[in-house]
Subunit: 349 residues, 2 copies
DNA sequence: CTGTTAGCGCGTTCAT
DNA sequence: ATGAACGCGCTAACAG
């Protein structure tokens, strides 16, 4: 049976023979109600299939119980980790009985707070963080609640979850070094906006770590920058491998399938001629041919943490910010192996 | 400079020396305003950096300008197309100046309208549609605005966008038949909930089309059901290929990488020993080794269409529903080839 | 323990 | 062309 108008608090109050505030209070539990009236109210709510109106509630209470997730302008070719962030965030928000509003990133940094200003959300979650991210500066200046996936250079007071890229790169390179590799390529991610090339945290931190390791282990290490488009990655990796003839490579997020293809397509056998360590979301690592030695990118979990941190922020008053630098393990699979000694002979031709 | 309280219509009215309704009307344009007052008001809005409060607006107007996208409970291992739906939907909503609220699918069909009932959204978008989807029945019964990605058996009056799976399967099979293949496997998607196995539209329609084609061309056609988990797909495909020794296969959404791996790992060369047609989002097709003959799943576009259709529904009164059955082209790449004649000799051993 | 009422910020009808 | 005032549905003082 369908009413033409959704029941309101007033309807419940009437039906139950009580006042609206009483109904409101049995709903919120913010003051004690006698068992008898509570039951009457609950019955009325049941009978009329009453559902609180979220907008009215938001207007009156000042809280929307919604979080905004700012997507980097959604392209058809999105990155897998970003999708996992979204999925994880969606799960965590509904678990906490919040809503998740997806929003495309505003062009101007000044607009990051828009969702909060417009009263569509209580706080925002940022991703694709730059080393000095102006959006974060704004959000702090404007006093908005937020959390970030990734972290800027100066992360004082900001709640974030990120990967410890320096640690992961070290783990990957040490793995290769232990297997005798010395000529190693780093396929580093490059943001689509060239001017921000040196601003993107993961790229920058990976680069620095890689350079330090090259020095420490005295490697012939070369960094190769690759864009997001897999086809371009393929081309670039193809020529880099042909030219530099590395025995191994480390590919950052999203690049490994294309890099592996590039190697195979020029006749290299994996891992005999070329070892590769990837950095992908788990579901991508198991399937390739051969299976990828991989650092599992815990994107789904990071998405969840992002919202949990934000909700904590919204609840707890002046708690210290949560800051988590994750160190996912390296899983060794078929794509890496000891560099064969016979290679030395071949190499000299 | 930051105020402790966001400016409201009243603030603008005061600053501009006019009434609140006047301000409201210059914003909505719903009645004519003299140029002088309009300018004064606009200046005040500019000066105070006024932003309309979306919740108050929603409460007063009855429209939230938000759409809810109901996600199948977001798992870590989400399917690529679903992510693309989301990305496309996010783009289209923000283009139309709407918000997109992500919501996990309610357990009970009766709850599909929740987002609308709670006044968080004006309409909902459904995905993962079953042949007789109770959610759709509910939504119609309750008179809610909605659109769906996929389509049920009885789609009278529902706006949807879907793929013409029967057509695509035909296209794929005919391609293989033309190349001399006769022993063909269909790797069909299987929903996670076994009881709904025969309810899932794409699976059901693909199955029927495949069976009809087997009959029409007198093929040794076998359907192999695979779950979503790539590892399981690999196992199942591996043993199916070993046992049935097909010369070709057609893999539905998401399955082709695992199927290809399974074939390669048992020593088959692609396409010489085994041809494969995939059905994947474009970004997945180009990179595999070898490149996949593929029907590009236009998931991103479908996500966009889903919201566009819903917005049309919300705007236009009693227009006929939009119903689109897309037929993406088959792109022939390296993974399929003519079945070699020498194979006949080999086959008999 | 319960009722009354004043907002929350904006849209809109009714006056003027 | 403009203003005054009411209502959207709910929360939270304030008053018993």
């Amino acid at each position: 049976m369908k009413r033409d108008r959704a029941p309101t608090l007033a309807d419940i109050a009437e039906q139950g023979g009580v006042s609206v505030s009483t109904v409101s209070y049995v709903l919120s539990g913010k003051r004690s109600i006698s068992d008898r009236t509570r039951k009457r109210v609950l019955k009325a709510i049941e009978d009329l299939e009453y559902r609180p109106n979220a907008r009215a509630r938001a207007l009156a209470s000042g809280s929307t119980r919604a979080l905004a997730l700012l997507l980097p302008s959604p392209q058809p070719r999105e990155r897998t980790e970003q999708h996992s962030f979204v999925a994880g965030a969606a799960l965590a928000t509904s678990k906490a009985d919040y809503s998740l509003v997806l929003s495309t990133s505003p062009a101007r940094a000044a607009r990051v707070g828009q969702m909060v200003e417009d009263n569509r959300a209580d706080g925002v979650i940022l991703m694709e963080i730059e080393l000095r991210d102006r959006r974060i500066t704004r959000l702090i200046a404007d006093g908005f609640a937020f959390s970030v996936i990734g972290h800027p250079d100066n992360s004082d007071g900001v709640s974030y979850v990120d990967l410890d890229f320096a640690h992961s790169i070290r783990q990957a390179v040490e793995h290769l070094v232990e297997h005798g590799h010395r000529r190693i390529l780093l396929f580093n991610v490059m943001p689509d906006v060239p001017s921000r090339k040196f601003q993107y945290g993961p790229a920058q931190r990976s680069r620095a770590a890689f350079a330090a390791l090259a020095n420490e282990f005295d490697l012939e290490a070369t960094e190769v920058e690759v864009p997001r488009d897999p086809d371009r990655v393929y081309e670039i990796a193809h020529s880099a491998i042909a030219k530099l003839r590395p025995t191994a490579g480390v590919a950052l997020v999203t690049a490994s399938p294309a890099v592996m293809s590039a190697a195979i397509h020029q006749g290299l056998r994996i891992p005999d001629d070329f070892s590769l360590v990837g950095f992908e979301v788990p579901q991508l690592a198991g399937i390739p041919i051969p299976a990828l030695t991989n650092i599992d990118f815990p994107a789904y979990e990071m998405g969840q943490m992002g919202v949990e941190m934000l909700i904590d922020r919204l609840a707890g008053a002046e708690d210290p910010p949560t800051q988590r630098l994750l160190r996912p393990p390296l899983t060794i699979r078929e794509s890496t192996a000891r560099v064969p000694t016979r290679r030395r002979a071949v190499k000299s031709r």
